[in-house]
Symmetry: C2
Subunit: 385 residues, 2 copies
Amino acid sequence: MNLPKGYKYSAIYAGIRKIEKDDLALIVSDTPAHAAAVFTSNRVKAAPVILAQKNLRDSRGLVRAILANAGNANCATRTGERAAAECVRAAAKMIGARPAEILPASTGVIGVELEADRIVKALPALAAGLDPTRFEDAARAILTTDTTEKMAFAAVKGALIAGMTKGSGMIQPRMATTLGFVVTDAQVARAALQTALKRAIAQSYNRISVDGDTSTNDVVAVLANGASGVRPAARAFEAALTEVLASLARQIARDGEGARKLITIEVEGAPTDAAAEKIARAIANSPLVKTAVAGSDPNWGRILSAAGNAGVHFDPRRVDIDFQGMRVCRAGLAAEFSEDQLKRKLDERECGIRFAIRGSSRGRARFWTCDFTEDYIRINASYRT
Amino acid sequence: MNLPKGYKYSAIYAGIRKIEKDDLALIVSDTPAHAAAVFTSNRVKAAPVILAQKNLRDSRGLVRAILANAGNANCATRTGERAAAECVRAAAKMIGARPAEILPASTGVIGVELEADRIVKALPALAAGLDPTRFEDAARAILTTDTTEKMAFAAVKGALIAGMTKGSGMIQPRMATTLGFVVTDAQVARAALQTALKRAIAQSYNRISVDGDTSTNDVVAVLANGASGVRPAARAFEAALTEVLASLARQIARDGEGARKLITIEVEGAPTDAAAEKIARAIANSPLVKTAVAGSDPNWGRILSAAGNAGVHFDPRRVDIDFQGMRVCRAGLAAEFSEDQLKRKLDERECGIRFAIRGSSRGRARFWTCDFTEDYIRINASYRT
């Protein structure tokens, strides 16, 4: 694992979640890093989201550390703001930073009071464990119903980018999804960092959905501390950042609650890119499409029907659909194909859907989701209890 | 069963669906009836939907019969328009009507050619079976994954209204949902009938969702043949029609694929009625809320989070939530309540969610949906095969 210079990581079990698995992560930059972040668009925002937004304003976008806990979202809680502020103050003191330079984040159950004490008490041991190689430990500590840690890496002109994320359910990012933290030792000006993040998010996190629910706690943050001494061109940096974020986003879709298959949806020939995204999102959010994929059922009519609900004007008689690389629909009608062969192909771990509208329009979008299995229900019917 | 005068019903197995269960229904009015109908807003419309719209225009809203089949949606089919027209012509000949006076409807799998021959061959026996008492037989023949037939009745000033419907999956009506047929012997002018239907649909079918998918084949039609000689006041008729349609809609939500519980969502204090409906719909379509109800999990945070995604501006600190009649959230924060007691209450077959925003706004909406169980996945992962 080739990691950016000038960062340390740590993780510990602070007793926030019931099972004894690390639930508190700390990411520290040796020097104040330029930071950019995107947050949930849910009207209901968790206390750490509100505090993180305030801190970023107060510090003018400089961040020394990210403090993230799993097991409790600290949302719709009576003492939430106080608890978040207390943790941030204690963390700042521990690493010798200003409180405004700490970015707090939480994920887990909503509406349960977060006991700040547990985090404050765990901080000395957490800080003592800081190490430049413990990236993966931190990535593991932010998981909830995820079955695996999610990381992605890229290099750009000698600078490095490393990202971690979590997310398995309540996934339909609008601005960002769940938690995602990216660190780089590239030199990037703050405004350029925010621009690159916004554009990269639009092509990555904002293109996945597990269940159509947008969380109250979503945040994706990028820190750039410049420790490599390398200042990549804006376009090259954005491309590398997009690569990292798209990989993380796909890992979330693939690890969707109960999911067995990653579904990639490509839409072409829509009036605009935005219209293409609407169609792709409608297909990705259709429980009927997702259950058909789960059951390896070549029921492409559900894809057509879902697209018809996207609120986009198109002529169904111009639609071609490929399902798992096979021509299932041409000009809006059933194509000749072997159901048995398609069924077998649908047993694979990756599924592709191509939805193309004939004509001169060039709007296109790529979107990722997962299949919808009984396990999603099982996981979510008893998540809290 | 008290049925309106001047209608006959029949049902038969025409061999369209694989299992031998009636799959073809015929509803005949002795005289041409005033008809009003609402159709799917899906961009992809099935052949019978397009033909029914044309017939209604051509006949100036006069209908002699409804011919409906289950087991095949006749949508995205090469020969679909021809097949629908052929069935309509044969049915018209059989009962001595003009083809434009026949309203065709289909429900079932999309993208498979409908064999018109089977329907045409079954018509003589179907017509021979016409009887004023066979309402329930017809109601049973239009079902697909439904577990029970769905009927509702009302009386208005001596005239009678009887409705039947089907629907279990692919349910999120925008204009109408799935199939719904209502007959009345009231005298109602055509324009008044269409107005009453539109207003009644807005409070009934357009207020339910099973899975957020809107079908390609939705139609709800009302026939009024005037055989009772009674001409009820417009308001009284609309109220009775709304009662019938709301009952049918609730029966659909209760019988949602795999559902064990009917969920009634009431939203109050939104800026407008339309905003209230948006919030209610967002809650109703949240898989996380629906799985929590399935698992009797008092996870009210998911209700708050789902509402936050509705695209409606509200202050979370003014939100009160009652879950199954218990105060779980006050002013956006957890209220004191017994989790054990709520868990037990959530085991009941009906579940109530009240979402109220404090303040002076008066926008309200009621919405119905169902819980989300493993059986939904099981049913839909293998519907076609």
